[in-house]
């Protein structure tokens, strides 16, 4: 069978169906666009949160072990060597009090405060530390327990910069965002599926006489069904394009420095658009199959 006339017929009938039932087709496009918009927004938010988590993770996998002021340089180096040979530790670097002050001055903007302390003779209050880069964030707690009882450590309430609450809290946020996004997509997706099914079923009802004749003269099921499938795919893809346009428009509006809003890069945005188009096509074709199934079985 020559595919060109078949393709021409299938696409022609699909477009004809959309024009004939433009009201319900519009409703389908609107609902699917909303679904995909919700899905795209959820993916963007979850991705942004995921980025924050990874950043926090990389920061949290560096454990600062603060040293007491009275210990000798040799003791500090000995401890650096001991900790550096732990299998969960990637590297251990000693940071003396001056380096800590420089870090605080540039990283935390405390240069003014440190200067005042120097001028008043109070000296540098910041402790020296051993900065441990760990292979896995899960090892932070164990290393922290191992070192925190050492007499060599800074005697304050926080002998290390370990904060046990940060990671679980972030993971909770991520889980909530993922769950919320998935629920949103599932609910609106189910509604979109129903609308597409109704739309295709209406098209099949309008064309029932034509379908009946097609079957009587020996048209195959796929020949009867393909135009409806293509109709669903067109609705899905058009909706995906609209949803993508809206998302990118909002992203550009709130974005800066070559990135979209929430720090989303162009490459990731392109992947989301591709995902939405594929998702729209799948949603549309699945709705069509459900909608036309009854007509084919009759």
């Amino acid at each position: 069978m020559n595919p060109i006339p078949v393709l021409r017929y299938v696409i022609g009938v699909a477009l004809q169906n959309i024009v004939r039932n433009r009201g319900i087709a519009f409703a389908s496009v609107l609902t699917v666009t909303m679904t995909l918009l919700g899905a795209g927004a959820a993916v963007a938010v979850v991705s942004a949160l995921d980025g924050v988590l990874h950043q926090e993770e990389s920061q949290a996998s560096v454990l600062k072990v603060f040293m007491a002021d009275h210990i000798s340089f040799a003791s500090a180096l000995n401890m650096e060597h001991t900790l550096g040979s732990e299998p969960t530790v990637l590297s251990a670097d000693f940071e003396n009090k001056n380096q800590a002050a420089k870090e605080a001055a540039s990283g935390l903007g405390l240069s003014g405060a440190l200067k005042i302390l120097q001028e008043t003779g109070a000296g540098n209050p910041l402790p020296a530390s051993i900065n441990l880069h760990l292979r896995d964030i899960a090892a932070v707690s164990a290393i922290n327990s191992q070192v925190s009882t050492s007499a060599l450590l800074y005697p304050g309430p926080h002998p290390t910069d370990y904060n046990k609450d940060v990671i679980p809290r972030l993971e909770k946020y991520i889980f909530a965002a993922q769950l919320g996004g998935a629920l949103l997509v599932a609910v609106v997706g189910a509604v979109a599926l129903v609308i597409i099914t109704i739309s295709v079923r209406t098209a099949a009802f309008v064309r029932r006489q034509e379908i009946e004749i097609m079957k009587l003269v020996g048209a195959t099921d796929w020949f009867v069904g393909w135009p409806f499938l293509v109709e669903g795919i067109i609705v899905g893809v058009v909706s995906a394009i609209l949803a993508s346009a809206a998302l990118i428009g909002v992203g550009l509006g709130f974005g800066s420095g070559g990135n979209l809003a929430l720090g989303i890069g162009i490459r990731f945005a392109a992947l989301v658009v591709l995902g939405l188009i594929v998702g729209g096509a799948v949603l549309g074709s699945f709705g069509s199959l459900v909608g036309v199934r009854r007509s084919l079985a009759a």
């Binding site: 006339p5 004749i213 020996g218 020949f223």
Partner: protein
């Protein structure tokens, strides 16, 4: 009621052949073997019906409304399946045909109905071409085939008319032309004269006789007494879902038979 019995002029195309009378010794092309059909509501439409139809035969299935005539046609096109017994077409048991193979079966058959089943938004030529476009869209010489089919039914000058611009008889001829486009070996007609005046109805029957003369096996369900009596062809009489008479060159009613 009176109808004109003067025969309509026979139309032939360049490839038409006279295939002669029914082949008495050929294997049957249609077999009904103790067929019963009960619909889901429990109503028995056909009960224990057996008959055979040989190639190039012309058979009237007669009976009152609800006698089971249309069910016989619906069983033949596998719109329905038998509850009991076997329906065979060209030796193939229709109950065993898979759903995806039904189109192949239906392309062997030409089917017309009382209500013509034409698409009102298509012209006569487009309605006829539709049967090819939806089964074999790449087919070449479509125009010639459509013209030929319309020539056979005598409507070659109505190519661009819409169904609503035609009489009932002409609309039925368009439906016949559409059914002829696949050159079917079996032609099934369910009350094709039911919506027509006597003259137009007789014209349709003459056309079906002509199609039969060209080699197709014709099964026509009807309760039109005049056309059956005038045609003098084989009659299967149905009553209450049962086959009560199978007669060569039969009449609609046999002497002493109650009105069907």
């Amino acid at each position: 009621m009176s109808i004109s019995t003067s025969p309509a002029p026979l139309r032939t195309d360049t490839q038409a052949t006279d295939n002669g009378p029914p082949a008495r010794h050929d294997p049957p092309i249609i077999v009904f073997e103790r067929v019963s059909k009960t619909y889901p509501n429990g109503v028995p439409a056909v009960q224990d019906v057996s008959f055979t139809v040989r190639p190039r035969d012309f058979v009237f299935v007669v009976g009152a409304s609800g006698a089971g005539k249309s069910t016989i046609i619906r069983l033949l096109i596998r719109e329905e399946t038998a509850s009991k017994g076997h329906v065979l077409v060209e030796g193939q048991d229709l109950a065993r045909i898979r759903h995806r193979h039904l189109p192949r079966l239906r392309r062997k058959m030409g089917i017309v109905f009382q209500d013509f089943k034409l698409l009102p938004n298509l012209t006569v030529a487009q309605n006829v071409a539709f049967a090819i476009q939806v089964t074999d869209p790449g087919r070449t010489h479509l125009k010639e085939k459509v013209g030929e089919a319309l020539y056979i039914v005598g409507l070659e000058d109505k190519l661009n008319n819409y169904p609503t611009e035609l009489s009932g008889g002409e609309q039925q001829r368009v439906a016949i032309a559409r059914a002829l486009i696949h050159r079917p070996r079996i032609f099934l007609a369910d009350e094709p004269t039911g919506n027509l005046d006597p003259d137009a109805g007789w014209g349709i029957v003459q056309l079906l006789l002509q199609i039969n003369h060209r080699g197709a096996t014709v099964v026509m369900a009807t309760h039109n007494r005049e056309v059956v009596d005038l045609s003098r062809r084989r009659v299967l009489a149905m009553e209450g879902g049962r086959l009560i008479r199978d007669e060569q060159e039969g009449q609609y009613l046999k002497d002493g038979e109650a009105n069907l």
